[in-house]
Amino acid sequence: MDALLQFVFSGLTVGAVYALVALGFTIIYNASDVVNFAQGEFVMLGGMITWFGHDAGLPLMLAAALAIAVTTAVGVALNKFAIEPARGAPVVSLIIITIGASILIRGATQLIFDKQIHRYPAFTGENPIEVMGATILPQSLWVIGGAVAVFVALWLFFSRTLMGKAVLATANNRLAAQLVGINTNWVMTLSFGLSAAIGALAGVLVTPITLISYDVGVALALKGFAGAMLGGMGNPKGALVGGLALGLLEALTAGYLSSQYKDAVAFIVILAVLFVMPQGLFGKTSADRV
């Protein structure tokens, strides 16, 4: 029982990071139908820049804020200089552009910073908290709390605000969105900036636990993508549940079976779910009439 709870704690922590990556996917996908494979690099940048700032003597919170701001600017630039000029190209081409951007960001980080593995101190101490025989790091609570807070904010944004509806409308029908007065280029800028900020936040929160280096982005992007697919692409609730479920699956497999099989089991479960429910757990079936 203690062991189970321990696995659940570590699964939720990792899952919360996957959920944050998946939420980042959700925003850009909602605005443009593009799956942004540079999403994992945003997480990496968040951690690396915070480490760099903190190492240079900045207070941790200031370094974190700086990291989020810089990563947001990178996201906006990615849209401005790589996605916007290719507007009108098929979605697949745009996705390939994001893969290229991911390689570029990784290379640039390696040159500007270094190839070492880094960490900085946890926000509120390193002493594990004991809960019913298992322990959880205070930093894990920050990660899980961050994922839940971002989810709630996004859910309110998409379901309650006119700006959120404008993002959905732009993805659904770009032409009609322009005709009702939505500046669709601005919506794209907003979504890339927002996703980059969320990715960076994930990196900032998780680095004290998992450490950071220039090359962690690819794996995170794949896991976040898998989480988003499991939950249903485009749905914030799906991203949260899918990401957490993926983290739990991995932790439980690693705990009870072998850590060598954790990726395999996770992906087998995802394939099985998608086989029965191709739209994912919360995905909408398309209801278009022609």
Binding site: L162, A169, L175, A177, Q178, L179, V180, G181, A287, R289
Partner: protein, 232 residues
């Protein structure tokens, strides 16, 4: 209200509008009729800014119209596009709310109530995804959404496309009601008989140019029109 002077437009290197002149005065319904490919839709796309103009100019309410497409609704020029182009994944009510995106949110509730009074079926289905509506209902939604912007001039592209005659009549009756309330409408239609029956004035387009223009009721009996477009 709206003046078009020598408007030219190209798709790639092929010019499809060869200098179109057209005038819409306040409070009138003007229709542009013509066969498929005559350039009617291109003309409207130029007016709403989603199709680049390569020559000539458009004057709207006394000033040259140069705003980007997304800025034109705020000026009072809204288009209900060909093929409805509603937001299929959003609910009927969200579609209407987004119609008022470019203006202040004051009065949106009462305007929405007015849309529902005009098209009761939309109120019944207001929380359903708009993609599930029938073709006629989608057309009603497209018109209602355009009206939510409180336009001073409404551009309508093929509102009768793919609709049964009874529904077409219902849509045209709505347009009549709008005109009686003082709305200015530029209507592009392939259903020439219905359009000429409704409009005050009309332009006939062929291969990218206006070939005939005049009072709509005169064109209805014009032998050239009857042979080519009314088929009687």
């Amino acid at each position: 209200m709206l003046t078009v002077e020598g408007l030219k437009s190209c798709y790639g290197r092929i010019e499809v509008l060869h200098g179109v002149d057209l005038e819409v005065a306040e409070g009138e319904i003007v229709t542009v009729v013509g066969a498929n490919g005559a350039g009617k839709t291109t003309l409207l796309r130029c007016l709403s800014g989603i199709q680049p103009v390569s020559g000539g100019r458009v004057i709207f309410r006394g000033a040259p119209l140069t705003a980007a497409a997304h800025g034109r609704a705020a000026l009072g020029l809204t288009q209900s596009p060909e093929g409805r182009q509603i937001f299929t994944n959003l609910s009927v009510e969200e579609n209407l709310r987004l119609g008022a995106y470019s203006r202040s949110s004051r009065g949106v509730r009462s305007d929405m109530a007015e849309s529902y009074a005009m098209f009761p079926i939309l109120e019944e289905k207001r929380h359903l995804p708009a993609g599930g509506l029938s073709g006629g209902q989608q057309q009603m939604l497209a018109i209602a959404r355009a009206l939510m912007a409180r336009p001073s001039c409404l551009l309508l592209d093929e509102p009768s496309m793919g609709l049964a005659p009874l529904l077409t009549k219902q849509i045209f009756d709505t347009l009549k009601t709008l005109r009686d309330r003082g709305m200015t409408i530029l209507l592009v239609e392939q259903n020439a008989r219905a359009a000429l029956g409704l409009a005050d004035r009309a332009y006939v387009m062929e291969t990218g140019q206006v070939i005939i223009s005049g009072m709509a009721r005169n064109l209805l009996t014009d032998p050239r029109i009857r042979d080519a477009y009314l088929g009687t």
